[in-house]
């Protein structure tokens, strides 16, 4: 598992195992739970490598309802809503109130299912002994962002991560890309399900129907984001025509409706909506192979060196530094290209890269990371979704990244003045509740180990109360970073 690991470790001074353990658990992982640093200190690299498993990341959701079921329920809700609106036009106020009830109930159900999913995910993060595996999974969830800001997607973010992302985070990037793109979650979020080829039989049929005029056209959203965000990147050298051509390839990739019982709410290829003919994307011609046309484009995009550059830079930026060392990016890129985007090998390459173990912690934790690592310090986990409401206050509303680009990863975004004050306020409330029965000096050691600076250790020891001590620890420069 650890090609090259031993010789590189030899270059670090003996006795730095504790430092490496602290880095492994806090930078690669999600923060130390009690005893975790001791465990990792035996063999920090091996501890990380053992978390890389072919079956992928852990599945956190308590409710394993398939996204197709959620999509079906959503569709039913949308039909109810349409009926309700008609009723509002036709009938008197009293009846409208009655008719509105199932809609309100459905909305509540959507919110609740999303809340439960998010709580389950946060609990997994707070309790998992494989923090690196979970961070790696969260990286990919954020890379293929499905945001719950739209009502139609709110209910499927959790299932999307569970079904499309998590099983494949240590597989080949190509498979991850195609599985994500084919999932109803991403198709709903990026408006793919309704995209219809302008010269397809479906478009012609729709054009004949007066009331459907204006609907049933090409939607470029998914194609554009795959190029710009998911693969080659904004500087990937594609043109608007490439976006449009790729969007034409993708037509027909859709979600089964209520009248397609075996496929309802799941991926379906609608031959009739697919734009006929061969396409040219980034200089390469793709024959009309139906559903495989878009898949072929994606395979080539996944294999592109530009994708390797884009993704390896992003991985290095997430794990190591907002301005990652070019040598680290180059090492990851080399592995990526040599292995055809084998994410197991890329993850191992990251673990084995000396640049990833720099003593200076350069990454500022996002609110989610900060809250999760705080729970890990106390060996606890959030008991209810209300305890995560603070994430909204801190600018990271659950399952609601602001754009398809996902949550930003830079300190400049998260370390804003007001955000720091709000973190301090949350930390004080958290500490007031959890600190009284705990030994703050011990928590400081188990949380940060060799990363604990004498200054912060002293401040914690000198605090006048346990809550004050824990507040200082959780707001210390080294705990805010990883």
């Amino acid at each position: 598992m650890q090609a090259g690991g031993k010789c590189k470790e030899g270059r670090l001074a003996q006795g730095s195992k504790d430092q490496m353990a602290a880095i492994a658990v806090t930078r690669f992982g999600l923060g130390a739970r009690p005893g975790e640093l001791t465990e990792a200190a035996q063999d920090p690299r091996g501890w990380l490598a053992a978390q890389i498993v072919g079956r992928g990341a852990d599945l956190g959701l308590a409710d394993s309802t398939l996204s197709s079921e959620r999509v079906k329920a959503l569709r039913a809700y949308q039909m109810d809503r349409r009926d309700t609106r008609r009723a509002q036009k036709d009938k008197s106020g009293e009846e409208v109130m009655e008719a509105a009830d199932p809609v309100i109930a459905a909305r509540r159900l959507i919110r609740e299912s999303a809340s439960e999913d998010f709580l389950a995910r946060a609990r997994l993060a707070a309790t998992t002994p494989a923090g690196f595996r979970e961070r790696w999974a969260l990286f990919w969830c954020n890379h293929f962002t499905v945001s719950g800001v739209k009502l139609v997607t709110a209910t499927v973010v959790g299932p999307f991560e569970q079904e499309a992302i998590r099983p494949r985070v240590f597989g080949r990037f190509e498979d991850l890309l195609i599985a994500s793109t084919a999932h109803p979650g991403l198709m709903l979020y990026l408006d793919q399900a309704q995209s219809v080829g302008p010269n397809s039989p479906a478009a012609k049929f729709l054009q004949r129907r007066a009331q459907a005029r204006g609907r049933g056209g090409l939607n470029e959203n998914l194609a554009r984001e795959i190029l710009e965000l998911h693969t080659v990147g904004v500087a990937g050298g594609y043109s608007q025509e490439d976006v449009t051509e790729f969007a034409r390839c993708l037509t027909g990739w859709s979600i089964g409706g209520q009248r397609e019982p075996t496929k309802a709410g799941a991926f379906i290829f609608r031959e009739a909506a697919h734009e006929p003919g061969a396409r040219t994307v980034m200089g390469k011609r793709y024959g009309d192979t139906g559903v495989m046309q878009a898949a072929s484009v994606m395979k080539d995009l996944a294999a592109s060196p530009k994708t390797a550059r884009h993704l390896c830079t992003k991985i290095a930026r997430h794990f190591v530094s907002d301005t990652p060392p070019p040598t680290l990016v180059a090492a990851l890129e080399k592995t990526w290209m040599e292995t055809g985007g084998d994410l197991t090998r890329v993850a191992l390459s990251l673990v084995n890269a000396p640049e990833a173990w720099s003593l200076e912690a350069q990454k500022f934790k996002t609110p989610y990371e900060h809250v999760v690592s705080s729970y890990r310090v106390i060996g606890g986990r959030p008991a209810a979704i209300e305890h995560l409401a603070v994430l909204t206050t801190l600018g990271q509303r659950p399952f609601s990244p602001p754009s398809p680009k996902g949550w930003p990863d830079e300190a400049a975004y998260w370390a804003a003045p007001d955000a720091l004050i709000k973190r301090m306020t949350w930390v004080q409330q958290f500490s007031a509740v959890v600190a009284p029965e705990r030994d703050p000096d011990a928590m400081a050691r188990t949380a940060l180990g060799a990363r604990l600076s004498p200054t912060v250790a002293r401040a914690v020891a000198r605090a006048e109360s346990r809550p004050e001590a824990l507040s200082l620890l959780l707001m210390s420069p080294e705990f805010l970073r990883r």
């Binding site: 959030p382 209810a384 209300e386 804003a416 003045p417 007001d418 200054t455 006048e464 109360s465 001590a469």
Partner: protein, 417 residues
């Protein structure tokens, strides 16, 4: 894989209490206690735990002790500034209301009190003060809670803690209510200043945090209404006088509000509060300064209680105690370090008038504990036992065993009420 199992780190019940407290004056007293109130004939007791190690030599400066000024130098309270109690002791000038009470025989000091353990760690010493045990980590409930159990095993005596979570002193089997004056009151008032220090060399955090604090101070000033729903603001420099006044108003408001609970027919007879910010290692000040501000808040809090209790003040005892005192000598940074004996303040209309409680060991070089601290002459358990027995009616046997375990040898101080 035990680490995967759910731990008890859940926040549910307590933080819901916090949320309820922050939303207003939501509070519920368990059970009905109309008859319990009759049992106690309306007697009430308030314990204020002053956290951080309150400096007794500033709270009740022994200005008549010949060694005081020399040991304390710049941070000595000048004799003409202290509010005179007797030939030796005065009160800190910030304690005006308490001094006025003393003038009516309603306030006394125990100038050399300490808990039985000599720990100089805040956490351990607070544990000992609050558990009532003879040493650290020997029990996990508070003596005030066990006193409630002893008074009425049926749970009909009501207790209230102020703050989002129950302080250790009131934690235990007996159900106690809790009320919080608002989320902002929860944190350590020193935290902004301490974090500013921690961030001093951090190019990212230092400027951002400073800016955040400035904005927060502006927002606080803009919304401050000096009502009971605000807490003493953090001291972060600038506009100090206005801040002190606002903090005093807020503290007085909290005192009145808590008193308002206590005078209700089924209100709590026993209340625990915390006052924080007494860990004055640097720049503690003398007649004015950091410590003076904290004492001004404490004075306002107690006076708010007196005002709010009205006629019930005559049936009430308030006691302020701290985990340990501070070094007799000023240190190199204009402050004092963790010490031993300190002053306990006793207030209330139920007190008998009298002089200092316990002996004064003096500050002579050979009288100092370990050559550095006020030597304790009063065991805190003796004082608490005296109040619980004579004022609240807890019997001696329960005091010696249940409330203060294995303390037969520690006799209650008599004649306080």
């Amino acid at each position: 894989m035990t680490r995967l199992s759910p731990s008890n780190g859940g926040l549910s019940r307590r933080s819901l209490l916090t949320a309820a407290g922050a939303a207003g004056l939501t509070i519920s007293f368990m059970g009905s206690n109309a008859d319990a109130a009759a049992d106690l004939r309306g007697r009430k007791m308030v314990v204020i735990v002053c956290r951080g190690g309150m400096d007794g030599l500033s709270v009740s400066p022994p200005v008549g002790d010949p060694d005081y000024a020399g040991l304390r130098k710049a941070i000595a309270i000048p004799g003409d500034a202290a509010l005179k109690l007797d030939g030796t002791f005065g009160l800190h000038p910030a304690l005006e209301s308490i001094h006025a009470m003393a003038g009516k025989g309603q306030a006394r000091i125990a100038p050399a009190m300490a808990s039985p353990d000599r720990a100089r760690s805040h956490f351990e010493a607070q544990d000992v003060l609050e558990t009532g045990a003879a040493g650290v980590y020997s029990t996990d409930s508070g003596w005030l809670n066990r006193a409630v159990q002893a008074l009425r095993p049926d749970g009909k005596v009501q207790a209230l803690s102020v703050g989002a979570t129950a302080p250790l002193i009131l934690r235990g089997k007996a159900q106690a209510a809790s009320w919080s004056p608002g989320a902002a009151g929860e944190g350590s008032p020193r935290l902004p200043a301490l974090l500013t220090d921690l961030y001093a060399d951090d190019p990212l955090l230092a400027p951002a945090f400073a800016q955040g604090l400035r904005t927060e101070a502006m927002a606080e000033t803009a919304t401050m209404t000096a009502s009971a729903s605000t807490s003493p603001p953090a001291m972060s420099g600038g506009g100090v006088q206005a801040f002190v006044r606002q903090g005093q108003n807020a503290a007085r408001g909290i005192g009145r509000t808590v008193a308002g609970f206590m005078i209700q027919p089924s209100g709590p007879q026993i209340v625990a509060l915390s006052a924080e910010g007494f860990d004055t290692h640097a720049n503690q000040g003398a007649a004015q300064g950091q410590l003076a501000t904290r004492l001004a808040y404490l004075d306002a809090l107690v006076d708010g209680l007196r005002e709010g209790l009205g006629d019930s003040w005559s049936e009430t005892v308030v006691v302020c105690a701290t985990e340990f005192g501070r070094t007799a000598r000023v240190n190199g940074t204009g402050g004092t370090d963790h010490g031993t004996g300190s002053t306990a303040l006793l207030m209330g209309g139920a007190l008998k008038s009298g002089g200092i409680v316990g002996d004064w060991p003096t500050l002579k070089a050979n009288a100092l504990y370990e050559g550095r601290d006020t030597a304790p002459t009063v065991d805190s358990r003796a004082l608490f036992k005296g109040l619980l027995r004579d004022h609240m009616g807890v019997d001696r046997k329960a005091l010696d065993t249940l409330v203060f375990p294995d303390s037969v040898g520690v006799a209650p101080i008599t004649g306080l009420t």
